[in-house]
Symmetry: C2
């Protein structure tokens, strides 16, 4: 996306009715009504003629441990996607962690291995950066303000640094959480991470919302756009609504925007490989 | 079905791709590939424009308790169907039992109540008898041989007696199991139940297979048709294959047959009411 433009919508479609032989995948969240994974993953299954269906699962944090251990006993369930707020907890239920899951302490995908154990990894960060690059917003050599040091921010931050962002300015409502993430990143990328109480708008080539603020219609803006540079890119990780208040405000100011759906749509190919879908 | 005729097949169809807001239902079995509930229940959801999907779940008996307790924590899962071999175990995971579930000690449907507890009932028996009556094979005043005193037989036997079968001849590979079921039925319907090592073919108006024998292509016949009367009806509870070896053999002898799909298709309306689907 090279200029102001509002985000794409996923078009509804039909899929073959499941039979008793259909393989299962699930996406777990709380809430879950806003997730876009069912449309994207089921589209993949239809296109590739795989007899599988991905369904949404809503589970409160207190119910998550019993619920996911139950899912792991389902013999025809091959994979699980995990979204807010369960990505950290998901790691506790995997037997093997991929590199991004180890680095972030969080997972957004689990798969059953041939021996019955479960492997987990986290594709949020690499998916998000692939989305930026694909849309012409390469973070290499750029100053990036990242708001939110929770599940998504924790994944996106190291991916931005890996991909060459020269300075990352982290902020979070919990300063402690921002400092903890910054300390871990500093150990690997010294001098390239700073914590601030709000985005460094005047310096930033890119301003990213990695908080859930914007999921609800009456949410405030996650950060102020007043000082943003005219050439800044404003990105949101929220997928529903596709047009968040933040993105609308950015478009109104003539800024370039990058909607949340890219992070997920770029991950579909990564999920496909991870789940070994033909 | 009034004369020799082979069973109907469920026609494949499409349904809208689930979204994050879709409600879930499940059918649990082991194996599960043969179940027909996904086609029938999803047809119901499509016809009634209910945003819900029913998916198959395979779980081994050792995994069933952890698996079903996990399912019960899924906030957007409204109902569970249970099939072989989990119908007895299912009762242990419900807070309230309907009359047929209490009488048979087994359940094939569980629903979440408004207060978060789970209610269970068993519609196999009444579904099977409704199917017989609908096909013109009313068991009232008839002698019926029922082979299999497991989950299905335990449900079908009291429904046949409730509906006026005058004599029920029970057989099972486990004579102990047949005797136990007979003793419970005798307490309520004295003089109308007999246990035998094989069906009383020469006396029976109706011969029913309520065992899993016939699920696999190389299974033997569940009982011998040699002594069956020319006016006998031969019924099978197996749904897949739709044309079991038993039914083919009965058709070959010119006997009337009654395929397994009726027991399920007659239950769809009962499930609809139980699950409070509009």
């Amino acid at each position: 996306m090279s200029g102001p433009q509002l985000p794409q919508q996923v078009t509804p479609f039909q899929l073959p009715c499941p039979t008793g032989a259909t393989r299962l995948f699930a996406v777990i969240g709380y809430p879950v009504a806003q997730v876009q994974a069912p449309a994207l993953m089921n589209r993949l299954f239809v296109d590739r003629r795989v007899d599988a269906v991905l369904v949404p699962i809503e589970a409160a944090p207190a119910d998550f441990p019993v619920m996911i251990e139950g899912l792991k006993r389902i013999a025809n369930l091959d994979g699980i996607l995990v979204t807010i707020p369960h990505k950290f907890a998901a790691c506790d239920h995997a037997d093997h962690l991929g590199e991004a899951a180890r680095l972030t302490g969080s997972a957004n995908a689990l798969r059953r291995e041939a021996d019955g154990t479960w492997a987990a990894d986290n594709f949020d960060g690499v998916g998000f950066v692939r989305g930026l690059v694909g849309a012409g917003h390469n973070p290499r050599g750029k100053t990036v303000s990242l708001v939110g040091a929770g599940g998504a921010g924790t994944s996106i931050a190291p991916a931005l640094l890996t991909h060459g962002a020269c300075l990352l300015v982290l902020s979070d409502v919990s300063e402690k959480r921002a400092n903890q993430l910054a300390a871990r990143l500093e150990a690997k990328w010294p001098g390239r991470v700073r914590v601030a109480s709000s985005p460094a708008a005047a310096e930033s080539d890119m301003l990213i919302n990695a908080t859930p603020v914007g999921l609800h219609e009456d949410d405030p803006l996650p950060f102020d756009l007043g000082a943003a540079r005219a050439d800044a890119v404003v990105a949101d990780i929220i997928m529903k609504p596709a047009e968040t208040r933040l993105l609308k405000a950015a478009v109104a100011r003539g800024l370039r925007v990058h909607p949340g759906i890219h992070m997920l749509s770029e991950q579909i190919e990564l999920y496909r490989q991870f789940f070994r879908i033909p």
